[in-house]
C-alpha cells in the first residue's frame, strides 16, 4: 500500500472527524486527490466506518456493563471456528469476537444494561450452543484505555508558555 494511504489511515484512525482539506495539507496532496483516496479505501473496505470513542462512565444517565467471555468450542469439520464464531457475533449485544491462541478459543465481548442481562445471554444463548464446551465470564470493572485512547487522561499542557 502506498505510504500516503497508510498516513491517511493513521490520521483518520486517531481522529475520524478531520476535515478532508486539513488531511490534504498535512499529507501534501490536493483536496481532490485526498477525496479519491478516501473513496478508494472505503470501497476496498479498508475503512469500514467512522465512530467516536466515548467514555460512557462520564455519561450520567447511562448505565451499562461489559463482560469478556472466554469460550472453548469444538471446531466443526470443514468450517473450523468460523461458523460457530458467526453464530455468536450475529447477536447485537456481542461487540467483539476474536479467535485466540492459548487456553481457550474465542474471546467474546458483550455489552448489556445489567449483570443479569449478560448472565442470561451466557446461560441461555451462548453455553447452549452445541459446539460450546465451556465459558468463563469476566465482568469489566473499569476501563482505563480503549483502542489506544486513555480514559481520564489529563490533557493540560505542562509546558511554560514561552521558551527559547
Amino acid at each position: 500500500m502506498e505510504e500516503k494511504e497508510l498516513e491517511l489511515l493513521e490520521l483518520l484512525e486517531t481522529n475520524g472527524r478531520l476535515e478532508v482539506a486539513t488531511i490534504a495539507t498535512m499529507i501534501n496532496l490536493s483536496v481532490e486527490e485526498t477525496k479519491q483516496m478516501i473513496d478508494k479505501l472505503e470501497n476496498e473496505y479498508a475503512i469500514l466506518g467512522y465512530s467516536a470513542v466515548i467514555n460512557w462512565s462520564n455519561v450520567l444517565e447511562y448505565e451499562g456493563v461489559t463482560a469478556m467471555i472466554d469460550v472453548k468450542v469444538t471446531p466443526v469439520r470443514g468450517a473450523g471456528f468460523d461458523k460457530i464464531a458467526e453464530r455468536i457475533y450475529r447477536y447485537p449485544e456481542v461487540k467483539a469476537v476474536y479467535l485466540m491462541s492459548g487456553a481457550y478459543d474465542l474471546s467474546v465481548s458483550v455489552e448489556g444494561k445489567t449483570m443479569i442481562e449478560i448472565s442470561r445471554f451466557v446461560s441461555d444463548k451462548l453455553s447452549t450452543l452445541d459446539t460450546v464446551i465451556s465459558t468463563t465470564t469476566h465482568f469489566v470493572l473499569k476501563k482505563y484505555k480503549h483502542d489506544g485512547v486513555i480514559f481520564d487522561e489529563e490533557d493540560d499542557d505542562k509546558r511554560i508558555l514561552v521558551s527559547p
Partner: protein
Amino acid sequence: MSPSTKNSYLSKTVANLEPSGIRRFFDLASTMDNVISLGVGEPDFVTPWNIIEASYHSLERGYTAYTANAGMLELREEISNYLKYNYLVEYNPLNQVIVTVGASQAIDLALRAIVNPGEEVIVIDPGFVSYAPAVTLAGGTPVAINTKSEDEFKLQPQQIEEAITEKTKAIIICSPNNPTGSVLTKDELNRIATVIEKHDLIVLSDEIYAELTYDEEFTSFAAITKMKERTVLISGFSKAFAMTGWRLGYATGPVEIIEAMIKIHQYTMMSAPTMAQHGALEALKNGKKSVLDMKTSYRQRRNFVVNTLNEIGLSCHQPGGAFYVFPSIKSTGLSSEEFAEQLLKTERVAVVPGSVFGATGEGYIRCSYAASLKQLDEAMKRIKSFIDQL
C-alpha cells in the same frame, strides 16, 4: 541594594549582558488566560513511557549516586553506537564522549574549553538566544553573521570569509536551526567546510534537532571530510525524545577538547543526573519507534501550518527541520515585537518576535508547531482575524 562604596556587586560581564527578550514575553503571556501558545521551544509530547519507566526502575534499584564525571560508560557507549549507526561518525566512548546537563551545558563547556580572552566566535543571526551570551561568559567576543531570508537563512561560505579576523577561533553552527527551521544540505556543509579548514577554525555543531528533519536525510557536520578532528558535535535527548525537562545532552569530539570539557565539568557539575542518564539509555536502546512517530506528526503539522500561514498572507518557506516556522510579518508594517505583543493582547496567541533571535530576525516571528492540531487550527484562525483587522 548597591553597596555604598561600589556601584554594584555584580561582575561587569554579567551586568552588561542583555536580558533575553524571551523573558519579557513570557512575563506578559503569563498574566493572561486562554492563551494558545506557539511560543514554546519544546515538544508537545510527554516523554515516551518506556523511558519514564526505565528511569523509575533505576530509582527502585537504588541508582541514586553520582556517575562517572563523563557520564555512565554504558550510556557513552550507546551514544557512540547511535552516532555511528545514524550519522556515520565514530567516537571512542572512553575519551571522546561527555554526558552533560542538556546540550546547553555542552555549549558552555565547549566554549570555556577553547576560548581565550578576546578571541572571537562566530554565531549565526538569527540563531538560538544562548550562543552569543555563552561566548561572552567564556571570555570571548561573539561575532554575528546575518543570514538572509532569500538564502532561507542558511549560512553562506562567503559570509564566513567576511566575518573572519585574526582573532577568530571558532564558529557555532546549528542545523536544523532554531528559530528558522532551515537545514544545511551535505553540499552546503561541504562548501562551509572548505572555508573552515582554510582558516583553521573549530566548529561547535549544535545538532540537537538532527532527528527532526523531514525532507532530506540529515548530515552531521562531523561526517564531512576532515571535519571530525575540528568539530565538537553537540546534541541531546530534549527534542528528539521529548525529554527537555530531564536536562540531558552530550558532546563528542577530539580527545583534547572533550577531556578539557570533562575537566571543567568535574569541578563545576560532577556529573549529569543519574536517573536521567538511565532514561536516556532506554531512549537510545528502544526509542526509535517513538521518535519516528513524533517525527511524522511534526511533519504533518508543519505542512498544515506552512500552508495556512501562506494562505493568510504571512509568507514563509517550508523549513526542512526542527518544529518552527519563521514567517515574515513585514507586510503588516509592524515590528516583530509590536506584532507579537498586539497578537497576544487582542487574539491571545503567543508567538516569539524574531528580533529576540538577533537583529536579522526583525520582521519575522517564530511560530512553533509543537502544539495539537486543534490548537494550531484555532491559532491560525486567530492570526487570520488579527491580520484582517490591521
